[in-house]
C-alpha cells in the first residue's frame, strides 16, 4: 500500500459530462486518460509522478469496470515497452515515469517504438523533475524527443489545459503514427485546479481481441530494410502529418496584445510565470489579458514553422522563454527565421540565464529587460525604474545566513536504514574508511551529516555496478549500496549478476525495507504485504542466490547495530572470494506507522492490552557530548538546554515523536557510548495479573528506594 491514499479522490474519476472536477494535476490526468478510452496504463513510480501511479493503483476498481488494464511496471523500460501493444492495433495506451531519468532507462524501448511507429495512440506522461526540489541531474527530456522523433507536448500548467493536452495528444499520436510525450513539470503535477469533465469512454478495441486475433507486419519491426524505411517515413510522412495536425487542431495558442511590434514565445509550461511577470510590469492581468502578444508552444517538438513565422513577421523583437539547456528551441527559431528572412531580433538565453529554473525572480528580470530594451514606453514608471525597498541588505537579515541551518532531507524518525549506516560508521572506526558506492533511494541520505558516507551515485540500482572497476587485489574491499527498489529495477542483473559473473570481491548491501520507500511506499516483488492484484513476498536472498551468489547474509532486524556491524566486518575481512551480499531487512518506519497506527487505535478502543515503546535519556547521566547523535541523526533524538549549573552543554533528549525503534539504545550499546538511554514500555489495559504483579514490584522497589533516600541528604531541587 502506498504512503498516500487516494481512495476518496478517485471517486472523482467517475464524474461525467457537464460536471466539474476539482483537484490535483495528476488526478486530472488520470481522469483525462479514462475520457480518452485508454486500454492500458503502466508506469514506474518516482517524483513527481509517484502519485499518478498511486492514484491509478487506488482506482483499480474503476479501471477494471471500464476494461482498462493497469500495471506497476518493473522499470521505466518495462513501462515503455508496454506501449508495443499500440504498434499493430488501434489500442490507446499510456505509460508514465519521471524524467529525464525515467526516459534514460526507457530510451531503448522508446527508440524502437518511435522507429516502427504506432497505430493506436501511445502516450508517455513524464514528470519533468527539474529545478528546485529536484533530486536528479539537471537535464532536459527535449533531447530524447529530438533524437527519436517522438513529439513533446508541454501544456500550460493549469488543470484544464493539461486535460485538453491529453485528449489532443492521443489524436496527434494516431494522426502521425508516433508516440507522444506529455511533459508535466514538478509543480504542475501537484497544481490544484478545476476543469469541466466528459464521460469516461470504454476502449473501442479491447486487449483481448488483439490476443485472440493477432496480426503482424514485418515493416513495423526494427530490422533492415524496414528500419531504413522507418527513418524516411519519419521525416517524409509522420513529421509533416504531426505538424499539420498540431496546426489544424490549434494545439499552440496565440494571445494578441496591443503592443504588437514585440512578442514573447514560450514553452506552454512557462505561461503562468510569463503572465505573472507581465502583470507585475503592468502589462497583463490576472485573467490572462495581455498587452504583449504571446505565442504559447503547447507542443515544443515538432515546431510548426509557419506559426512561428506568422507570429514574428511584423515584429521587431521576440523573446524566447525556454527553460533548461541547451536552448534547442531558440536555436531552431534562429534557423526558421533566417530561412524565412524574418528580421525580428530573437532574444532568449542572452537575457535569461543559461542554467537553472526560471523562478519568478528570473522571469521578472529577463522579461523586464526585454521590454525595457524595446518598448520601455510601455512600462509604467514603477516598472521602468523599480524602487524596491531592498530589505535583504539590512545587516540583521544578512546575519541570518549564518544562523539558519541547512535542513536537507534525511532519514525519518525510526528509519530502519539509519542503523545500517551507524554500523558502517563503527566499522569505519575499526577498519578505516572504505570506498562506498551509493545508490538512488532514501539510503542516499547517508552522504549527509551525521554519517557522511558514500562516494558516488550512478543511477537507480547501479550502486554495485558502479563499484565494478574496484575488483583488484587491495588491502580493503569496496562496499556498494542498493535499495530493494533498485534491486528489482535492474540491480539483480546489473549489480549482483554482474558481480557474480566477474567474480567481484566487494561487499554489496541491499537495503530491504518492504517497499519502494523513497517514491512513496509502493509495493515491489519483495514486499511483505498482501496485495490483491500483485504477487509479493519474493525474498531478495533467494533471487540473489538464484543468480549464483554464495556468501549471502540475511539480517532480519537492522536495528541490531551490533549484529549489523559484525556482519559488515565479516564481509570486509572474510577469506571467501566473490561478492559478499548482505540483505538488511526491516520495514520502512513511515509506512509501518501508517499501517500500524489505525490497528493500535482500534485495539485501544476495544480495551485490549497495548504496549507503547519509546526511548528516553536520563538527563543527569548524559554528559552532553552528543556522540549518540553523531551516530544517529534521528529527528526525535535532539538536545535540550538544562538548568543544571554544572552542565555546560545541552543534554540529549528524546521527544514525543519517538516511535521506539530502539536505534539510539542499540547504538549506545554497540559503540559503548553511555548508559543514559532507557527504553520505556508503557502498557495500557494490562492484564489483571500483570497489574497486580506491577503493584507488588512497585511496593518492593519503593521500600528500597525510601530506605536509601532516608540515609542520604535530600536537597531541595531533588524534592521539587
Amino acid at each position: 500500500m502506498a504512503e498516500r491514499s487516494f481512495a476518496r479522490e478517485v471517486e472523482d474519476l467517475k464524474l461525467g459530462a457537464g460536471q466539474e472536477f476539482r483537484g490535483e494535476g495528476i488526478l486530472a490526468i488520470t481522469k483525462a486518460l479514462l475520457e480518452c478510452g485508454v486500454s492500458y496504463v503502466a508506469g514506474y513510480q518516482g517524483a513527481p509522478i509517484s502519485h499518478l501511479m498511486d492514484v491509478l493503483s487506488d482506482a483499480q476498481d474503476i479501471l477494471s469496470d471500464l476494461g482498462v488494464h493497469f500495471e506497476s511496471s518493473a522499470s521505466e523500460a518495462t513501462a515503455a515497452a508496454t506501449l508495443a501493444a499500440s504498434v499493430m492495433y488501434p489500442i490507446r495506451g499510456a505509460v508514465t515515469f519521471k524524467a529525464p531519468v525515467g526516459i534514460n532507462v526507457a530510451s531503448d524501448a522508446l527508440a524502437n517504438l518511435s522507429s516502427g511507429g504506432v497505430t493506436g495512440g501511445a502516450l508517455v506522461i513524464i514528470g519533468e523533475d527539474y529545478g528546485e526540489g529536484s533530486s536528479i541531474m539537471q537535464e532536459r527530456s527535449h533531447a530524447f524527443a529530438m533524437k527519436s522523433q517522438l513529439w513533446l507536448v508541454d501544456p500550460r500548467p493549469n488543470v484544464a489545459s493539461i486535460v485538453k493536452a491529453v485528449h489532443d495528444s492521443f489524436e496527434l499520436s494516431e494522426a502521425s503514427n508516433t508516440p507522444v510525450m506529455l511533459e508535466v513539470r514538478i509543480r504542475a503535477c501537484h497544481v490544484h485546479g478545476r476543469f469541466a469533465t466528459r464521460d469516461n469512454v470504454r476502449p473501442a478495441f479491447p486487449l483481448a481481441r488483439a490476443l485472440d486475433q493477432p496480426s503482424r507486419d514485418t515493416n513495423r519491426i526494427v530490422l533492415p530494410p524496414a528500419s531504413f524505411l522507418h527513418e524516411k517515413e519519419k521525416v517524409e510522412r509522420r513529421w509533416p502529418a504531426a505538424v499539420e495536425f498540431i496546426h489544424a487542431r490549434g494545439m499552440n495558442e496565440t494571445f494578441d496584445g496591443d503592443i504588437d511590434d514585440i512578442g514573447i514565445i514560450m514553452q506552454g509550461g512557462m505561461y503562468n510565470g510569463v503572465i505573472t511577470a507581465l502583470r507585475e510590469a503592468g502589462l497583463a492581468d490576472i485573467w490572462g489579458e495581455t498587452r504583449i502578444p504571446l505565442y504559447v508552444m503547447n507542443v515544443t517538438y515538432p515546431i510548426v514553422d509557419r506559426e512561428v513565422i506568422d507570429f514574428c513577421r511584423t515584429k521587431k523583437a521576440v523573446l524566447m522563454v525556454e527553460e533548461g539547456q541547451p536552448e534547442f528551441i531558440e536555436q531552431a527559431l534562429h534557423k526558421i527565421l533566417r530561412n524565412a528572412d524574418i528580421p525580428a531580433k530573437l532574444h532568449g538565453k542572452d537575457l535569461f540565464p543559461m542554467a537553472g529554473e526560471y523562478t519568478a525572480q528570473v522571469m521578472g528580470e529577463a522579461i523586464g529587460a526585454f521590454i525595457r530594451r524595446w518598448r520601455s514606453d510601455a512600462l509604467p514608471d514603477s516598472a521602468r525604474a523599480p524602487n524596491i525597498d531592498r530589505v535583504e541588505v539590512d545587516d540583521k537579515i544578512r546575519a541570518l545566513a549564518d544562523v539558519v541551518p541547512p535542513r536537507p532531507p534525511g532519514f525519518c524518525t525510526g528509519c530502519p536504514e539509519r542503523p545500517i549506516f551507524s554500523a558502517m560508521k563503527l566499522v569505519e572506526k575499526e577498519l578505516g574508511p572504505h570506498h562506498i558506492a551509493a545508490d538512488i533511494g532514501c539510503h542516499l541520505f547517508s552522504i549527509l551529516p551525521p554519517f557522511n558516507i558514500g562516494a558516488t551515485t550512478m543511477g537507480y540500482g547501479l550502486g554495485p555496478a558502479s563499484a565494478s572497476a574496484f575488483n583488484v587485489p587491495a588491502g580493503k574491499r569496496s562496499i556498494s549500496m542498493m535499495g530493494d527498489g533498485g534491486f528489482w529495477h535492474n540491480g539483480l542483473t546489473s549489480g549482483v549478476g554482474n558481480a557474480v559473473f566477474n567474480q567481484h570481491d566487494g561487499v554489496i548491501v541491499v537495503v530491504d525495507n518492504y517497499y519502494s520507500a523513497a517514491t512513496g511506499g509502493q509495493d515491489i516483488p519483495s514486499s511483505r504485504a498482501d496485495n490483491r492484484s500483485r504477487s509479493t513476498k519474493h525474498p531478495i536472498v533467494e533471487a540473489v542466490k538464484g543468480v549464483g551468489a554464495k556468501w549471502v547474509r540475511q539480517i532480519d532486524r537492522t536495528y541490531d547495530v551490533t549484529r549489523m556491524r559484525d556482519t559488515l566486518r565479516e564481509a570486509l575481512t572474510t577469506e571467501e572470494k566473490g561478492p559478499k551480499i548482505i540483505v538488511a531487512s526491516s520495514e520502512c518506519m513511515l509506512n509501518k506507522q501508517r499501517r500500524v497506527k489505525p490497528q493500535v487505535a482500534a485495539a485501544a478502543k476495544r480495551g485490549e492490552r497495548i504496549v507503547r515503546e519509546r526511548f528516553g535519556v536520563d538527563e543527569d547521566v548524559c554528559s552532553g557530548d552528543h556522540a549518540c547523535i553523531r551516530l544517529s541523526g534521528c529527528p526525535s533524538l535532539s538536545v535540550k538546554p538544562t538548568t543544571d549549573p554544572l552542565k555546560d552543554n545541552p543534554v540529549a533528549a528524546v521527544d514525543n515523536t519517538c516511535v521506539g525503534c530502539g536505534h539510539c539504545g542499540e547504538v549506545a550499546d554497540a559503540a559503548v557510548l553511555c548508559p543514559s538511554f532507557y527504553r520505556a514500555d508503557v502498557v495500557s489495559n494490562p492484564s489483571a495479573f500483570e497489574a497486580r504483579l506491577d503493584r507488588i514490584w512497585r511496593r518492593l522497589i519503593g521500600a528500597l528506594q525510601r530506605r536509601r533516600a532516608g540515609r542520604r541528604i535530600m536537597f531541595e531541587q531533588e524534592a521539587a
Partner: protein, 514 residues
C-alpha cells in the same frame, strides 16, 4: 525619464491575488494546512491554486508550499485566473513558518517584505542535524531570527505553537491555521475556517481545539502595542541552589564554612557542594571546600570556574554513580512523566548498559584492579551489552547493590586515577593563578573537554591533555589565555580532534617565528 506612456487599448484588471507561502519541514503537516487554505477559499467561491515541490525532499527536509487565491470577477464570467506556481521575492502577502528557523529561511529567501508581508511563525525549535551533532552547544541563535523578522515583516506574529499543539493533542498546522484566522489577513470569517476543518474530517475535535487556541493567541498578540515587538524566549536560566543550612548538622557546618567565601560565588559553590555530597558524603564535601579554599581568592572569575569544574571533576561518572541515579525514586517518577505514562498504565524501564572491563576493574582496589584490567579473558566475559529492566526486582536489586558500593568508592582504582588527574589539573591552575589568572581560568575551563564514558571519555581526555601541554608551552605569553580558550573552542567543535590538532600546529608556529 521623458518617455511618454504607450496608450493602451486593452483594459487590464487591477485585481491581484492573495499570495501565501508556507515553509515547513517534511512530516510537519504543511500539506494539510495548504489543503485547508485552498478548501477555505473555494468554500467562499474563490479560485485557489496551490503547488508544492514534493518527493524525497519531503523526508524531514525543508519544504515550501505556495498558494494564490482570488475572488471571481463578476464582469468576466467563466474566466479562470492565471496564477503563479511559485512565490516571488517581495510579492508574498502571508508567509507561514511552521518552525522558527523555517520562518528565518523565508526571510533569507526574500519572501518576507516590510511593505506587505504578514509573517506567522511558530517560535518552537526543531533542531537541524548540524545543530545537534556539535559536541558543545551548536544550537542556532533564535534571537537573531526575531531581530530579522521584526525588520523584514510588515507584521510578525510568533508564539510557541508546538506547545499549544501538544496541549490540545493536535499538530502545529492546526494552530497555524488558527493564527491565520486570528490575524484577519484573509477576508474569511472564523466560522468558515472551522467549517473547513470539519469538512476535511480528520481529527476534527483536536484540530478545532488547536485552531481556537491558535486564533485566540494571535488575536491577543495583535491587540498588543505594535511597538512591542515579538522577542525570543530568553535562554533557559541555570538554577543555582541557595547556600543555606538545611537542618543537617554536618552539612550545615560546611555551609557555614563556605559562606566565608565571596558572596557572588555562593550560588555555584552551593551547586558544587551539593553535587559532591550527593555523589559521596559530607566528608567529601569538606574535601571540596579544602581544595576550593586553597585557591587564591583575588580573582572571582577564576574561583567561580574552579568551583564549578572542581565539583564536576570530583563527581565523576562511574558505575556506582550511574546505578545510584538510575535507581532513585525521583528518577522513576520523572521517566513516568516524560513518557506520559498514567498511573493506571504499567511502566517497564529497560536500561542499555555496556560495561567494559575498565569500568569493572575501576571498582576494585588499585593493585587488583590493574591486574584485572589487563586480563583479556575477563574482558571478553564482561564486554558486552546488557539490557537491565530496572522496574523488575532482580535487575533493580543488582543496580541497587552496585549503588551501595559507594562506601567503598574511595578505595577503588577509578577513584585513585580520578584524584591523580584532578590534582594535576588543580596544581596547574594554582601554578598559573599567581602570574596569569586569565590563563588559570582558561585551564579551569578546559575541564569541559573531559566527560562522557568509554571512547568518548578517552577522546575527551586526550584532547584535554593536549590542551594542558599547550598551556604549559604558552605560559608566560601575554596571549596565553586567549590561545587556550581558542583551543578549547576548537576542541569542542569537532568530535575527532582533527581541528584541534590543526590549531595546535598553529600554536607551534608561534614559537618558530620567535
Amino acid at each position: 525619464m521623458n518617455v511618454s506612456l504607450a496608450p493602451s487599448s486593452i483594459a487590464l484588471s487591477q485585481a491581484r491575488p492573495i499570495t501565501v507561502a508556507v515553509l515547513a519541514m517534511g512530516g510537519q503537516g504543511g500539506g494539510v494546512l495548504v489543503d485547508w487554505i485552498v478548501a477555505l477559499a473555494e468554500r467562499r467561491g474563490w479560485f485557489a491554486q496551490s503547488t508544492s515541490v514534493p518527493g524525497v525532499a519531503q523526508r524531514t527536509g525543508a519544504t515550501i508550499y505556495y498558494i494564490e487565491m482570488i475572488a471571481p470577477d463578476a464582469s468576466k464570467p467563466g474566466r479562470h485566473p492565471v496564477l503563479s506556481l511559485m512565490p516571488a521575492p517581495g510579492k508574498v502577502d502571508i508567509v507561514i513558518g511552521a518552525e522558527l528557523m523555517e520562518a528565518g529561511r523565508a526571510i533569507l529567501r526574500g519572501l518576507v517584505s516590510p511593505d506587505r508581508t504578514l509573517l506567522i511563525g511558530s517560535s518552537h525549535r526543531s533542531l537541524a542535524v548540524i545543530e545537534k551533532t556539535a559536541p558543545g552547544d551548536g544550537t542556532a541563535d533564535a534571537a537573531q531570527v526575531f531581530d530579522a523578522a521584526n525588520v523584514a515583516a510588515n507584521r510578525f506574529i510568533a508564539f510557541d505553537m508546538a506547545e499549544i499543539a501538544d496541549a490540545t493533542g493536535s499538530v502545529v498546522s492546526a494552530v497555524l491555521f488558527g493564527a491565520l484566522a486570528g490575524s484577519g489577513a484573509l477576508p474569511f470569517a472564523s466560522e468558515d475556517f472551522e467549517a473547513t476543518i470539519r469538512v476535511a474530517g480528520v481529527g476534527v475535535d483536536a484540530s478545532l481545539r488547536a485552531f481556537t487556541a491558535g486564533r485566540e493567541r494571535a488575536v491577543a498578540e495583535l491587540k498588543q502595542d505594535p511597538k512591542i515587538k515579538p522577542a525570543a524566549k530568553p535562554p533557559l536560566a541555570k538554577r543555582f541552589p541557595r547556600l543555606e543550612p538545611i537542618g543537617h548538622a554536618d552539612y550545615d557546618a560546611l555551609v557555614a564554612r563556605a559562606r566565608l567565601l565571596p558572596e557572588e560565588l555562593h550560588g555555584i559553590i552551593a551547586a558544587g557542594l551539593q553535587r559532591v555530597v550527593d555523589f559521596q558524603d559530607v566528608t567529601y564535601g569538606s574535601e571540596y571546600l579544602d581544595r576550593l579554599e586553597a585557591m587564591p581568592r583575588e580573582t572571582t572569575g577564576l574561583l567561580h570556574s574552579f568551583a564549578k569544574y572542581l565539583a564536576i571533576a570530583m563527581a565523576y561518572d562511574d558505575v556506582i554513580r550511574v546505578a545510584d541515579l538510575k535507581t532513585r525514586a525521583g528518577r522513576f517518577d520523572r521517566v513516568r512523566r516524560e513518557v506520559r505514562a498514567s498511573d493506571e498504565q504499567v511502566l517497564a524501564i529497560t536500561e542499555f548498559f555496556h560495561p567494559r572491563i575498565e569500568e569493572m576493574a575501576g571498582l576494585l582496589p588499585p593493585r587488583l584492579g590493574e591486574k584485572v584490567e589487563r586480563s583479556e579473558r575477563l574482558a571478553r566475559l564482561i564486554d558486552r551489552g546488557r539490557k537491565l529492566r530496572t522496574t523488575a526486582p532482580s535487575s533493580f536489586l543488582l543496580l541497587y547493590c552496585v549503588a551501595g558500593l559507594r562506601r567503598f568508592r574511595r578505595g577503588t582504582l577509578r577513584h585513585a586515577r580520578e584524584m591523580r588527574h584532578l590534582d594535576d589539573w588543580a596544581q596547574r591552575v594554582r601554578k598559573f593563578a599567581a602570574d596569569d589568572p586569565a590563563l588559570a581560568t582558561a585551564v579551569c575551563e578546559a575541564r569541559r573537554l573531559v566527560g562522557g564514558y568509554s571512547d568518548t571519555h578517552s577522546r575527551g581526555e586526550s584532547k584535554f591533555d593536549k590542551v594542558m601541554q599547550a598551556s604549559e608551552r604558552l605560559a608566560g605569553r601575554p596571549d596565553a589565555a586567549e590561545w587556550v580558550q581558542r583551543l578549547i573552542k576548537v576542541a569542542l567543535k569537532d568530535a575527532d580532534g582533527t581541528e584541534l590538532d590543526g590549531a595546535l600546529r598553529t600554536v607551534e608556529t608561534l614559537f618558530e617565528d620567535a
